[in-house]
């Protein structure tokens, strides 16, 4: 990118386990969101956090119905304000290289709106509303949620645990290719 030079320590690059090429692409995307806030020199690990509004305005995320939950899950403070590390984490989990279990774990956290480590009926209803623009009737929403719980809840406690969710993911091989954002 012209005569700008980014400076990372070799250790920082090493520790991230993606290729230098991808790391620098992601860094430039992060910086492009707010060039005045993000310095080029990252050797001193500056404490820079971009607010959720900027993250949510990225073209890859701005039309995604779950963008707020994605930002909340991957941000340190849980509010959607992301540091560079959070940003890199997010795109590495959503890339095609991430293993299925890791993706399932984060997908579970995204769908768990109340952060209680279980997907309960209200979480399902919120997911459904986000996916269908609130156009299903109350009755239909209830029936669909009941159907989901029927099929997926193996230990019959009325809510989905991480194990139930992972079991369901095993039976849906498209998950690896749909839970994927290209950068």
């Amino acid at each position: 990118m012209g005569n700008k030079q980014t400076i990372f320590t070799a250790q920082q690059l090493d520790a991230y386990q993606v290729s230098d090429h991808v790391y620098s692409i992601l860094f430039y995307r992060y910086r492009d969101l707010a060039p005045q806030l993000v310095p080029l020199d990252y050797t001193n690990n500056p404490d820079v956090k971009l607010p959720y509004e900027l993250i949510g305005s990225m073209p890859e995320l701005k039309d995604n119905p779950f963008r707020q939950r994605i930002a909340e899950v991957f941000s340190e403070d849980g509010e959607g304000n992301m540091t560079l590390n959070d940003f890199l984490d997010m795109f590495s989990v959503l890339s095609e290289m991430a293993p299925r279990d890791l993706k399932a774990y984060y997908a579970f956290k995204i769908y768990d709106f109340n952060n209680d480590d279980f997907i309960c009926k209200s979480d399902l209803e919120k997911t459904l509303n986000k996916l269908t623009r609130n156009e299903l009737t109350e009755e239909e929403v209830r029936m669909v949620c009941e159907k989901v719980l029927d099929e997926a809840d193996l230990d019959n406690d009325g809510r989905l645990s991480l194990d139930d969710f992972q079991h369901m993911i095993l039976r849906a091989p498209e998950f690896l290719s749909t839970f994927h954002i290209r950068i």
Binding site: Q17, N85, P99, T127, E151, A152, D155, T178, R182
Partner: protein
């Protein structure tokens, strides 16, 4: 600390993967790596090797990524149309890579030596001016004398053989890989849950596409809710009617296939000199029209699930194309002088005409449907991109290239150009004429099916044609690198005899005679492989039973848990009730009585379950 101990015990590659798999934030992972570095008993030298190896690996990966062809276009298509349509383009790119590799290999090992021969022996040039280096006939059976003797015969044979072998291995690995990732045990029951939680395509980035997807999901959910009532039994007369329709449509499609095959055969015999474009024209026309005709059958037949419908359509198409190719190959095997070049020319013409028809097919299939759907018959609506039909078209095109490699070594060059242009045509047609698919397609399973289709009928068919040609048919007398031999394969025999003369190479001759040429060896290998397959099959059956048992166990655990919770609640309720009763009836001795009752209850409950704290 347990985690660190576990990680230290793993090999470095496993450790790297294990850390990557941990669901922790970057900071925590960094901390773990730092801890490992300082508690491990590796020498600093080892550390350096590890980091340099990783850097090398990551540099290779980054180099590959900068060479990624069409990356931006794929992102755009995936963003607007989703992963199932994108799978067609990814498949096209994969086949494109096969052809690039093939072209480089053929050009390097076959064409360049031939050009060197032409340059050093200019008098050959006049005699074979009819044929360019495109076709088999112009290759000589000379040996290039230089730093190393390069025998054209061996070069030709082994290049083709090794390329086909590598293709086969790549296909097998890809098929096994996708089968392993995408094999689903019992998916018909989880349609509701699946649609809701797993099918949202995160890679869609276009606002209109997102809105459309949401609409489609809503419609699908409504359908699945109403489908609950549709699993009633059909009456026997309706069953008979459906069966009659199936039988009729299969008879019709089979007779169409056989009729087309026969007509192509007679047409080939009528057209004595294969100079005109009549046969390729008719073949490609049939290839375009008949599959569209088969798609019409969908209107009449009612399959129990959409997947069965797609399978039936794909099966019919595959049978049709195999039949046409089979007839053509049978005809070609019985042609006369310098027949390999003739076959090469015929294939070359077929590939070109097929390309023209693919473009026409894009025009008719997508552009005209769009015009018809939007202006003339609005009821039909904007067409969807028919992934199955398009994939079959490119599989057929690739099969032609595979058959043609032996007869025309530079055919991959044409194929490269064809696929390159096709990519852009399809992309433009998709963007302008089609809408995103209404049903969320099963992209991963379709990819497995496409690869399996590519491999089993088409690749193996092409390989068997080439194999039959090299093994059984006599090469023509006056042209090509194998002239004068009984069969192409005898090149290897001749070579082995020469190798015998070289001292110290007894093992090569031994392998050739005892292993490759002996029937007993293949017989034994087959038996051993069958035994191994049988053992693995039994193991997988056992594992399936284990899965059923474990699932039942999970359900039982859940039931146990709810049973115990209920019992606990009942006990707690009865104990509270007793406490209240005691208090209300005997006020004076109430407290003592209460404490005694609580004590007995506690003792009795301790025998069954842990008591919660008693708060009155």
């Amino acid at each position: 600390m347990n985690l660190v101990r576990e990680l230290v015990a793993m090999s470095t590659r496993d450790r790297v993967r294990a850390i990557q798999d941990l669901p922790m934030s970057f900071q925590e992972k960094k901390h773990i790596r730092w801890v490992l570095k300082h508690t491990g008993n590796k020498s600093p030298c080892h550390c350096y090797n590890l980091t340099s190896f990783r850097k090398c690996g990551s540099n290779v990966r980054s180099a590959r990524q900068t060479l990624e062809l069409w990356q931006g276009t794929m992102k755009e298509i995936g963003g607007k149309f989703g992963t199932s349509v994108l799978s067609y383009f990814i498949f096209l790119k994969w086949l494109f890579m096969f052809n690039v590799f093939s072209f480089l290999v053929n050009f390097g090992f076959i064409t360049i030596p031939q050009l060197v021969i032409y340059i050093t022996h200019p008098f050959f040039f006049k005699g074979y001016f009819n044929y360019t280096v495109m076709y088999y006939g112009s290759y000589s059976n000379e040996t290039l004398i230089g730093a190393m003797d390069y025998k054209m015969q061996l070069g030709y044979f082994f290049t083709i053989a090794v390329y086909m072998l590598l293709c086969g291995i790549a296909l097998i690995f890809s098929m096994a890989n996708s089968f392993r990732k995408n094999y689903v045990l019992a998916d018909s029951t989880s349609s509701g849950a699946w649609q809701l939680l797993c099918s949202w395509d995160f890679s869609i980035t276009n606002e209109r596409a997102v809105r459309q997807r949401k609409n489609n999901l809503r419609i699908q959910l409504k359908e699945s809710l109403s489908e609950k009532a549709q699993h009633e039994q059909l009456t026997s007369s309706e069953k008979l009617k459906h069966f009659g329709i199936y039988l009729g449509s299969w008879l019709l499609s089979t007779s169409l296939t056989v009729g087309c095959g026969a007509s192509i055969f007679f047409l080939c015999q009528y057209e004595i000199k294969a100079e005109t474009l009549l046969v390729p024209f008719v073949v490609s026309l049939m290839n375009m029209v008949i599959p569209l005709f088969y798609s019409l059958f969908n209107k009449f037949e009612h399959y129990s699930s959409q997947r069965r419908q797609i399978y039936a359509l794909v099966l019919r198409n595959v049978l049709f194309r195999m039949c046409i190719l089979g007839v053509l190959c049978y005809y070609w095997m019985n042609v006369v002088a310098c027949w390999e070049s003739v076959v090469g020319q015929a294939l070359y013409r077929l590939v070109i005409v097929d390309f023209i028809f693919l473009m026409l097919g894009s025009f008719f299939g997508e552009f005209l449907s769009n015009v018809v759907g939007t202006r003339l018959l609005p009821r039909l609506g904007v067409p969807e991109f028919d992934v199955a039909r398009n994939v079959l078209e490119i599989i057929y095109a690739q099969t032609l290239a595979w058959i043609g490699i032996y007869f025309s070594p530079l055919l991959p060059a044409i194929q490269i150009l064809k696929f390159f242009i096709l990519f852009y045509i399809k992309k433009v047609s998709l963007m302008h004429n089609c809408q995103p698919p209404r049903r969320t397609g099963r992209a991963a399973q379709m990819k497995t099916i496409f690869t399996a289709l590519l491999f089993f009928p088409f690749f193996l068919g092409a390989l068997s044609i080439v194999g039959y040609t090299t093994w059984s048919l006599t090469p023509s007398e006056h042209c090509g690198p194998f002239r004068g031999l009984n069969s192409t394969f005898s090149v290897v025999e001749v070579w082995i005899k020469e190798v015998e003369a070289i001292p110290g190479s007894k093992w090569v001759v031994f392998i050739y005679q005892k292993v490759i040429r002996s029937e007993i060896f293949y017989f034994l290998i087959t038996i051993i492989i069958l035994i191994i397959v049988y053992i693995f099959w039994q193991v997988s059956q056992g594992r399936k039973q284990l899965i059923v048992l474990l699932r039942r166990q999970i359900v039982n655990e859940g039931k146990d848990k709810s049973f115990l919770l209920e019992k606990l609640q009942n006990l707690q309720k009865s104990q509270e009730l007793k406490v209240r009763l005691e208090r209300s009836t005997i006020p004076g001795q109430g407290l003592l009585r209460t404490m005694l009752t609580i004590g007995t209850l506690q003792r009795s409950r301790r025998r069954t379950v842990q008591p919660p704290s008693i708060v009155s």
